[in-house]
């Protein structure tokens, strides 16, 4: 098993955090993982992406040629990555921001209206973690229990309220897709 996922969006959408969460959860479950963030000169507003490889064997390259999954948070990401996903792969897209749809017919597409969903959470936050919830539901790469543990380790230390918010966001996304 060797699964490559690309997360992509605007800087500030929490794209690198999504990759970090998946990689950490994979590590907690005893799998080999690599997490390769792109980095730019700008801190906000540029494009950011993050490649995560989760594998049962040693990972040769952290750079993915043909990812199985692409998690796309904005329109430029769709344009950039839709043709890189391998045939039979899956795209998760933020339908609140992305108006276009992939023109390929060989992919599975899940649309998640993140802006609408965040309205169910305090302060309209947590879009990226909602997406992570939806992603792990359909990819099955890591269990929701593991992801909750990772959220707790990542956010619980400083502010328990932030962990609570993110846990609600995760479950919201997880239950959104049937």
């Amino acid at each position: 098993m060797l699964i490559k996922t690309i997360f992509s969006g605007f800087g500030g959408q929490g794209v690198i955090m999504m990759g970090y969460l998946l990689a950490t959860a994979g590590m907690v479950e005893g799998k080999n993982v690599t997490c390769l963030p792109s980095y730019g000169a700008e801190v906000r507003g540029g494009t950011a992406n993050c490649t995560v490889v989760v594998s049962s064997e040693e990972i040769a390259s952290p750079v993915a040629s043909e990812p199985e999954y692409a998690v796309l948070m904005n329109n430029p990401s769709l344009i950039r990555f839709q043709n890189q996903v391998q045939s039979g792969g899956t795209i998760f897209l933020n339908s609140s921001l992305i108006e276009d749809r992939p023109i390929r017919g060989d992919l599975e597409i899940y649309e998640i209206p993140l802006n609408d969903l965040t309205k169910q959470l305090p302060e309209n936050r947590g879009a990226n973690v909602i997406m992570v919830g939806a992603f792990i539901k359909k990819s099955g790469l890591v269990s929701p229990e593991t992801m909750i543990r990772v959220l707790k380790n990542t956010f619980g230390g400083k502010n328990p309220a932030v962990f609570k918010l993110n846990k609600s966001a995760l479950m919201l996304g997880y239950e959104y897709l049937k």
Binding site: M27, L36, P37, Y39, A41, A60, S61, V63, S65
Partner: protein, 351 residues
Amino acid sequence: MRGNHVVGEAAIRAGCRYYFGYPITPQNEIPEYMSEKLPEAEGGVFIQAESEIASIHMVIGASMAGGRVMTSSSGPGISLKQEGISFLCALELPAVIVNMSRGGPGLGNIAPSQSDYFQATRGGGHGDYRTIVFGPNSCQELADLTYEGFNLADKYRTPVLILGDGMLGQMMEPVELPQEIPLKKLPAKDWALTGAKGRPSRFIRSLILDPIKEEEHNWKLMRKYEKIIREEVKWETYFADDAKMMVIAFGIAARIAKGAIKRLREEGVKVGLLRPITLWPFPFKAIKDFSKKVKHFFVFEMNMGQMVEDVKLGIEGNAEVHFYGRPGGVILTPLEIARVISSQYYQKRLG
């Protein structure tokens, strides 16, 4: 852990208590990490210096006092540190210098590139000297080689360079960190400047006006370098046993090449990999030995062709060498490199 943080943590566990640096992307997480952690360690000192030149000379000062000390930067900053690196070699002072290299020349960009291979292995500073150069290819190796770097630097009283790149510095992978060395367990340095208490005074200098004595100092350094060449060469292979074509790549490029080779092996293409781990001393002998049975070599670097010169020196004309490079900080995928390798493989009628 993120590659840059791994370097910082491994350094502290190796007993590094002094860090002097100057901000430059893509290595800023190293000084940030050190500024957070070093003040918590006993005797730990972090200074953000006014320049790269000042920081490398602060390294010299702390090393003279016997401390384990590190600085880090990226290409343009390493250029500025060359003066100090030449002095570290001449003064026979241990230190670890990390280069998370980026696209060049000039300011270039902040994307990962391997174009500092010549600078690292030939030395951009003046005079006859060598530095030990490690080319790690994973976060685990960053931890292990940083840690070992401090030991080798002390053992040989010479600076050790870690040549990473922007990708390695930013990448996150699980890492098993080495055990923390208690400072008291480190061997005493009978040359350090600590004040001439209960012993004759010492001086550490590089100015030797008498050419005969300067020549002897050069020979002394050379004998040390020869010992390093004999004892410290490191490399690994991957699918090398039945390979008809050997790929040679270092650092992160070797990871991408491994991905390509794995792909090609699934298609029955008999390619293997030799990855130099020490870029100096370079595994000339290993490459020469391979060139007796493998007649086609494929060198892949994220630059315009630098290590390929060392590969050709190692092969001594015994085999054909093909080079493929992408400079400028372009990250290519395993698929792209697999296509180039297999086109070479079939052109040479190896399969």
